[in-house]
Amino acid sequence: MRPILLSGHERALTQVKYNPDGDIIFSVSKDHVVCAWYSHNGERLGTYHGHQGALWTVDVDPTSTLLATGGADNTMRLWEVKTGKLLKTWDFPTSIKRVEFSADGTLLLGVTEKRSGHLGTIVVYEINPDPEAKQSDEHVLRIVCEDSKPTVAGFSYCAYYIIAGHEDGSVSQYDAKSGELLFNREVHEADMQITDLQWAPDRTYFITASKDKTAKIVTTDALEVMKEFVTDTPLNSAAITPVKDFVILGGGQDAMSVTTTGARQGKFEARFWHKIFQEEVGRVRGHFGPLNYVAVHPQGTGYCSGGEDGYVRVHHFDKPYFDFLYEVEREHAQANL
């Protein structure tokens, strides 16, 4: 099916997210505006105004009532999805690079940038799911990362751990109650920044994308690398598809060096890899700048990508996508019938 082009942003997209039902897409961009869109037809549902700087990150709670955003204006904000009302603003000394709700929506974490004498931190707040309630000012946990700044982070299943990806290519596991560093593992090439960390639906494993041109599937418990996907371009994002055993990788030549090369050499394509066999199965072209984020529909019926070119492209999968099976998978499926 033809992709739907969401051209509501004026600057590069930084993150796009589906809500758990998959009917709404939230997008944030460097143009200070948060947009919400109907995923099935690309109609804009509304915008959330208030941020004073480029936005880096967005997340929606599991019931689609609350929306958290963070950006370069050193604030993390909480919005009511339905009305667009700003519920809460938390101020920080540096910008917020990543926000994420826990699976049950009662915890919210934010990753703060390391800058001007401030170390990179991960802060956690307790959230009252009621939009009318007053949200607390005080964080329940603050993890200071002294070695290498965190770039991405998220809650594991049951919010037992906080998993963070670092600038130096390593992944850490923290106790989500005490904030104690349980262990740190060098997952990607040294000093190759981890650019994205997205969870499998059940949060027992996750995928990391890195500037070292690879994406890796890592287990939550032992931080053990299970699968590796090697591409020929720096990666900005990686997502795991439900229903089908694929992963979608997005990236491309750095925005800085793009001007000197053609679109062809930029490699601005979404790449589909088979999650288990680690083989590339397809590519989707369209963006004319690097892909900054790819998000998958929670029911696995489509995906969308936000690019440096300022567009969100929403794709709905066709039947052949669902029919595609490796011979081995087909045999297995028939044996289970």
Binding site: P20, R203, Q265, F277
Partner: protein
């Protein structure tokens, strides 16, 4: 309390220096004083003459000795023995030590007459090497190391699957691999920093050449051990003779060899030279040359035209017998091997000569029984004399054929691989010198009297030309515009195919145009080494990266065969078109089965890597490798099979190919099986792990996680289903009936 300085015992007073044995230290640190003996030489091997004939002898040898320097007055001391006769040797003092060095170098082993050979050595050397004790009194035979079986240098040809090898140079690593078609090449050897600038195969594939700052190394054998080393500091380029007997190294920097900068196996003779011609078997230089000063020509504005260096500068004849260098505008110097002496002690003067090319094979001309090598050369218009193309036979230096040409602005010489034809591509300008056109003058070397055929039907400028190897067809590329250097838009070109007419009795008729493919950007022609197939490509372009695969002997299904096809010795068919972004180099494998295209980091940094195609243009494999620099097929030596044996194989090709097909199939099946098994294993492992995780989550009571992150909302009040019917009135109109 530690003893203070005052309390130290003063026993040193009684120390006797003479008791210490210093001989070992003296020996070790002995300084060779300048004894003023450096200017002396010892001349030995002289005739023994009575005392009264001594002055005569001194005068005689002085004549020789003064040829390299000046002997001091009364500098010859020839002792006379008890018998009243000279002893057969003399001490000679030169005015300077350097002259003594020169004398030892140049006069040693000079024959005086039939019986006497003069030996000249430096006095200090005699002292150093010949002093008593330095030479053992008793003769001990040199130990001959036991014979060591060296590795077979051509073992790779015995591959049971008949595969070819290739060398790949990427980043700092050089590796030799077996070509495996679509599968990853099988590594044979892979080494870091094997070369410092590039790698090169010898022409028959025996050696792999690596280039270093100090010189060149040759590698080979099954273990890829070093076979030979050639010291040439600063070497830039290497060129082998066709049968790998000799090779030339070149450096843009003149060599510096003197006593302070000794270079192994090089002598003072090589000082200041740029080229060295080596004997590959001994590893010794045969002769060295300096770069010729090319008189810089000026263009109209008076700025000197930068000339590209011709490489190879020393061109080899097909059988390694001769090597020749051109002195542009004047002469060709032909050296005979293995002596490397000028043929007939003189260069071949050809006024105005611009270029020459040896026949790539030993020609067998009609009616010529004696041994000969041929080369072709051309001279431009000089005054009122027309431009000329000539064929010269060596060693007789006889001109076999010449042809006069007019209005020539440039000419290029193209030999066919078997030396059956040489095509001279002549760029001609009109009288106003404004437009260019190209003529082809084709010399039929093997026919009686060397007839020349002219193809002048080409209106445009020919930018490239190539003969079919071992065949008689050719391809050329023309362009209407004169290609501007560095233009962003590649010039439009047309590719034309030519073949000879079929005559009765299988003779080769006149060359005729078959077809032209126009509106192309192509500029490069790559024939399969076995002929018939040709790849036309666009290189060095920013926009176009096309590869066109053509077949010149396409076999049409019988019912489609047209009548006219019989006339020409060709049936052209375009097989396929491929594209390789950023392609810089193209090469056929030596068997003509595969074509590799390379985007080399030597030229640009975009999408470096290689593609492998089969002969019909099907992409078999592509791989992108950062800093990919070179991929070169290992050449094969000429076949050892006779013509009859080859024909026999061709006749039974079907039986052979059956065997290979079976092998391929078996290989593929096992490979497929392995892949499937690996996948089954991966899938089973994954599913098992997932099941464990699911059970773990169930134990933990993680409801949301098990539901894929979706919160199960309590459906307390029954979901109200609201059905809304919207009626939209699109149009209303009233009509009055009646």
């Amino acid at each position: 309390m530690a003893p203070s300085y005052e309390n130290l015992p003063m026993e040193d007073d009684e120390f006797d220096e003479n008791q210490v044995d210093f001989t070992d230290l003296e020996e070790q640190y002995q300084v060779r004083l300048d004894e003023g003996l450096d200017a002396f030489v010892v001349v030995d091997g002289l005739p023994v003459v009575p005392e009264d004939s001594k002055p005569k002898l001194v005068k005689f040898i002085l004549r020789k000795l003064n040829s390299v320097g000046k002997v001091k007055d009364d500098g010859v001391h020839m002792p006379v023995g008890d018998s009243g006769k000279t002893e057969g040797y003399a001490f000679v003092e030169y005015t300077a030590p350097s002259e003594a060095v020169a004398a030892a170098k140049q006069l040693n082993l000079t024959a005086l007459d039939k019986k006497h050979t003069m030996l000249v050595n430096k006095l200090t050397d005699i002292d150093r090497y010949g002093r008593e004790g330095r030479v053992e009194e008793e003769y001990t035979p040199p130990t001959v190391p036991p014979f060591e079986q060296t590795e077979h240098l051509r073992s790779w040809l015995g591959d049971s699957e008949g595969r070819d090898q290739l060398v790949m140079f990427r980043a700092e690593k050089v590796g030799v691999f077996w070509n495996n078609k679509e599968d990853a090449p099988d590594p044979v050897v892979d080494r870091e920093n094997w070369t410092e600038s590039f790698v090169q195969w010898s022409p028959q594939g025996t050696f792999l050449t690596s280039i270093h700052a100090q010189g060149v190394q040759l590698w080979g054998g099954k273990q890829w051990t070093r076979q030979k080393r050639f010291a040439h500091p600063g070497v830039n380029l290497v060129d082998f003779s066709p049968s790998e007997k000799y090779f030339t190294t070149w450096s843009h920097r003149p060599l510096q060899v003197d006593e302070n900068n000794p270079v192994p196996s090089l002598s003072l003779e090589e000082d200041g030279k740029n080229y060295i011609i080596w004997d590959l078997a001994t590893g010794k230089p045969i002769r060295s040359f300096a770069t010729l000063d090319v008189p810089t020509t000026m263009d109209i504005d008076g700025t000197p035209i930068k000339k590209k260096m011709q490489w190879p500068t020393f061109k080899w004849s097909a059988d390694d017998k001769y090597v020749a260098r051109l002195t542009q505008g004047q002469s060709i110097s032909i050296y005979e091997l293995p002596s490397m002496k000028l043929l007939d002690k003189s260069t071949v003067k050809i006024e105005g000569v611009m270029d020459f090319e040896w026949a790539p094979a030993t020609p067998k001309r009609d009616g010529i029984k004696t041994y000969e090598q041929l080369f072709c050369y051309w001279t431009p218009e000089l005054g009122s004399n027309p431009a000329k193309v000539g064929l010269m036979s060596i060693p007789s230096k006889e001109i076999v054929r010449t042809r006069n040409l007019f209005n020539v602005s440039d000419a290029k010489l193209h030999w066919q691989s078997e030396a059956a034809y040489v095509c001279v591509k002549v760029d001609r300008h009109s009288k106003s010198k404004k437009s260019l056109a190209t003529n082809l003058e084709i010399f039929r070397v093997k026919e009686k009297g060397v007839p020349v055929e002219v193809v002048d039907s080409i209106k445009d400028t020919v930018i490239n030309f190539a003969w079919e190897p071992k065949g008689n067809r050719f391809v050329l590329i023309t362009t209407g515009e004169i290609p501007a250097a560095g233009a962003a838009v590649p010039p439009k070109t047309a590719v034309s195919f030519f073949a000879p007419e079929k005559l009765k009795g299988g003779a080769v008729g006149n060359f005729r145009h078959i077809r032209t493919a126009d509106k192309k950007n192509s500029n490069a022609i790559y024939w399969s080494p076995k002929g018939r197939f040709v790849v036309i490509a666009t290189l060095q372009s920013q926009q176009s990266f096309d590869l066109d695969f053509w077949d010149l002997s396409f076999e049409k299904p019988k019912d489609e065969a047209e009548k006219g096809d019989k006339e020409l010795n060709a049936n052209l068919q375009h097989m396929s078109t491929a594209e390789h972004y950023g392609v810089t180099d193209i090469e056929w494998d030596p068997s003509g089965r595969y074509v590799t295209t390379v985007a080399s980091a030597f030229r640009h940094r975009m999408e470096n890597g290689y593609h492998i195609y089969d002969f019909k243009g099907t992409l078999l494999r592509e791989e992108g490798i950062e800093h990919f620099k070179q991929l070169i097929w290992r050449p094969r030596p000429p076949t050892l099979l006779s013509k009859e044996e080859q024909a026999e194989i061709r006749k039974n090709l079907r039986n052979y190919s059956k065997v290979f097909d079976e092998q391929d199939l078996a290989k593929k099946n096992t490979a497929n099986k392995a892949v499937i098994e690996a996948r089954q294993r991966l899938l089973a492992e994954w599913l098992e792990w997932r099941e464990n995780m699911r059970m773990m989550l169930e134990e933990e009571g993680a409801v949301i996680e098990l539901n894929g992150g979706k919160v199960l909302q309590d459906v307390d009040d029954e979901a109200e289903e609201v059905e809304e019917i919207v009626e939209e009135i699109i149009e209303e109109s009233e009509e009055v009936i009646g």
